[in-house]
C-alpha cells in the first residue's frame, strides 16, 4: 500500500490526487476542508486518502503555513517531581490538536539552555513552555523577545509574560483549615528555607488562618528535618502541638516517623498535613499523608491551551494566573469529623 504510485518512500498528495482523478490543488483543498468544490469530489478525495492511508508531510505543510505543530518544553527540574505532571497535562491537552512536544532538560546551565532553544527555534516550534521547580526563580535563559509565544508554568516569568502558578496561599489555607476542622488547637508549621517565596506565602497564609500565636520552624526540604523538628518540639518544655502543617511531604514523612517513634499517635494525638501529594512519599507514610495537591497536571493542560491559543494568534492577557490547590484526604488528618 505504501508503494502505490511507484515511487520509493512516502505516499504523497500526488498519489492521492492521481487516484482520485483530480489535481493536487483540488486534493489539498478537499483534504483541508478549504476551497469550494462539489461535495462529491471532496468525499471522493477523502475516501481515497483514507484508503491508502495518506498523511500529509508536516515538514512541507509547516514550511508554508508557518505552523509546525510542535512546541518546546524547557525545564530545569531534572528530578521530574514537578515537570512530569506538568508535561503530562501539556501533552494530554495538545496531542488531540496534533501537536507534539519537545522536551528539553537544561540543568541550570545557560549554555545548554541556549543550545536547546536554538534547536527548537530552528525547528520552528509554534511556542515554548518554560517550566521549573521554583516560582521565584527564572530559567537561566532569556525567552523574551523571541519570535514565538512563550508561557511560563511553575517558574518565574518576566512581568509582561503569561505565567501560570499554583495558589500556595490558598493551598496552605486548605491545610490549616483541615487541621482546625480536625479539632487541633495548637498548630505548628514546619517548613523549608525562608528563601523560597512559596515557603513565605504558605507560612503567611498559615499565620492568618490559625487562631492564636503562630509558630513557624524553618529547615530544609528533607525527612531528616521533619524528624529533627519533632525532636525540637518535644524535647523542650511547654505545650506540645496537636497539629503540624508541613511545608512538603518529605518533611511531613519525617515528622510522622518522628512522632511514631516517640509513641505519639497520628492523627489521634497529633494530626499532620503535608504539601505536594507526592505519591511515593505520601502514600507510603504510616499513616498515609493528608496533603495538598497543586494540581500540576491541570496547570500543564492550561499551559498547553494557552500556548496553542497564542500560537494561533489569539489574544492572551499577560499576568500571573494562580491555579487552585486541592486537599487530598488520607489518614494523617481526617479533617471535619462527620456530624454526629
Amino acid at each position: 500500500m505504501n508503494t502505490i504510485g511507484g515511487k520509493r518512500g512516502r505516499l504523497t498528495i500526488h498519489t492521492v490526487a492521481a487516484l482520485a482523478g483530480v489535481s493536487i490543488s483540488t486534493a489539498s483543498k478537499a483534504l483541508n476542508g478549504s476551497g469550494r468544490m462539489s461535495e462529491e469530489t471532496r468525499e471522493r478525495v477523502k475516501k481515497v486518502a483514507q484508503e491508502v492511508g495518506f498523511r500529509p508531510n508536516a515538514l512541507a505543510r509547516g514550511l508554508i503555513t508557518k505552523r509546525s505543530f510542535t512546541i518546546g518544553l524547557l525545564t530545569n527540574d531534572t528530578y521530574g517531581r514537578f515537570t512530569l505532571p506538568v508535561m503530562a497535562g501539556i501533552s494530554e491537552e495538545l496531542v488531540g490538536h496534533g501537536v507534539s512536544v519537545f522536551l528539553c532538560a537544561i540543568e541550570d546551565d545557560p549554555e545548554r539552555a541556549r543550545v536547546h532553544v536554538d534547536a527548537m527555534l530552528d525547528k520552528s516550534v509554534d511556542g515554548i513552555i518554560a517550566s521549573g521547580k521554583r516560582l521565584d526563580r527564572q530559567l537561566p535563559v532569556d525567552l523574551s523577545g523571541l519570535s514565538v509565544p512563550v508561557v511560563y508554568a511553575f517558574t518565574k516569568g518576566p512581568v509582561d509574560g503569561v505565567t501560570l502558578r499554583s495558589d500556595d496561599e490558598q493551598g496552605a489555607r486548605l491545610a490549616t483549615r483541615c487541621l482546625m476542622d480536625a479539632g487541633c488547637r495548637r498548630i505548628v508549621h514546619v517548613t523549608g528555607p525562608k528563601t523560597f517565596q512559596s515557603v513565605r506565602e504558605r507560612a503567611d497564609a498559615y499565620r492568618t488562618a490559625i487562631d492564636g500565636p503562630p509558630e513557624v520552624l524553618h529547615g530544609v526540604w528533607s525527612e531528616a528535618w521533619g524528624l529533627e523538628a519533632v525532636a525540637q518540639l518535644w524535647d523542650r518544655g511547654g505545650d506540645k502541638p496537636d497539629g503540624i502543617f508541613c511545608g512538603n511531604d518529605q518533611i511531613a514523612r519525617g515528622v510522622v516517623d518522628g512522632l511514631r517513634e516517640r509513641g505519639i499517635r497520628v492523627p489521634d494525638d497529633v494530626a499532620v498535613v503535608g504539601f505536594d501529594n507526592w505519591d511515593i512519599v505520601a502514600a507510603q507514610t504510616r499513616p498515609p499523608l493528608t496533603t495538598v495537591d497543586m494540581n500540576l497536571k491541570t496547570l500543564g493542560r492550561e499551559a498547553g491551551r494557552l500556548v496553542l491559543a497564542m500560537s494561533e494568534g489569539r489574544e492572551v492577557q499577560p499576568g500571573i494566573r494562580k491555579l487552585p490547590c486541592s486537599l487530598v484526604l488520607r489518614q494523617s488528618c481526617r479533617g471535619l469529623e462527620p456530624p454526629a
Copy 2:
C-alpha cells in the same frame, strides 16, 4: 538585525547570499561545507551568516534531506522513575548533534500510542526510542515495519529488534557479593512479584551467588511488604538472617524501618542492600541504602547513539544488549571492610 533583507519574519539564506554577494547555491554549499569553492568565498559567507545570526530553517532542510533532526521517545512509564534518567541520557547524547526529542507518554493505551506515533511519523522523525518500565512487557503498539529505525530501551522489543536493557543478573550478583563481603552468612532475598522477569533473574543470580540454601520471599513492590517480610522472618522460629538483599529500594526501606523498629541495628546486626538507587528513597532511609544502580542514563545515551547511527544508515546488529549495573555504597551495607 533580524530585519536585514527587509522582509518580515525570519532571516533566510537569500539574505545571507545577497549580503555575501554570492548565489544561494554557493551560500548553501559554503555553509554546509559541501561543494568546492575558494576558501575565501566560503569564509566570507560563513562570516556573514555568523554576523547576522543566520540559522537554516530545519523544516525546509528536512524536506530535502529527509532528516528532521528529531527523534521520538515513547514511554508508558508515566511515573517517570525509569524514563526520566533514560530521557536525560538520550537528550544529553543527541543535543550536540542538533537533534531534539519528542516525548510521548502513552499510558498503556494503544489508541493514544497510535496517535502519538502517527504524529511523530507525520513530522518525519529520524527514529523512535521505545522505553518503558518493564523488561518483559512490550509497549501497546507495534513499531516493527515502520519506515524509521526503532530502538527499545528498558522495554521488551521484538526478537529482531535492537534492544537495550540492564544486566539484572550481574546487578544482583553485585548486591549479593556486597553482603557476603560484609561477612553475612545467612542472606535472604526479599523481592517483588514472581511474574516479573527481572525478579526471576535477580533471584536466580542470588541463588547462584550465595553459599548455603537460598531463601526468596516474594511480595509486592512496596515499603509495606518490606516491613511485613521482616515481621515474617523475625516472628517465626529458627535462624535469623544477617543480610537481606531487597528487590528494590522501596522494599529495602521497609525492611530497614522494620529492623530499626525491632531494635536491630543496620548494618551491624543485619546488612541490607537495595536495587534501583532511587535517590528519594535510598538517600532518605536511615541509614542510607547501599543499592544497585542500573545506570539508566548511560542506557539512554547508548539508545541515543544507536538510533542516531541507524538513522544515518549505519548498520547496527539487532539483539539484546545488556548494560552493566553498578553498586552504590552507602551505609546499609559497607561491603568489604578495609584490610587491617
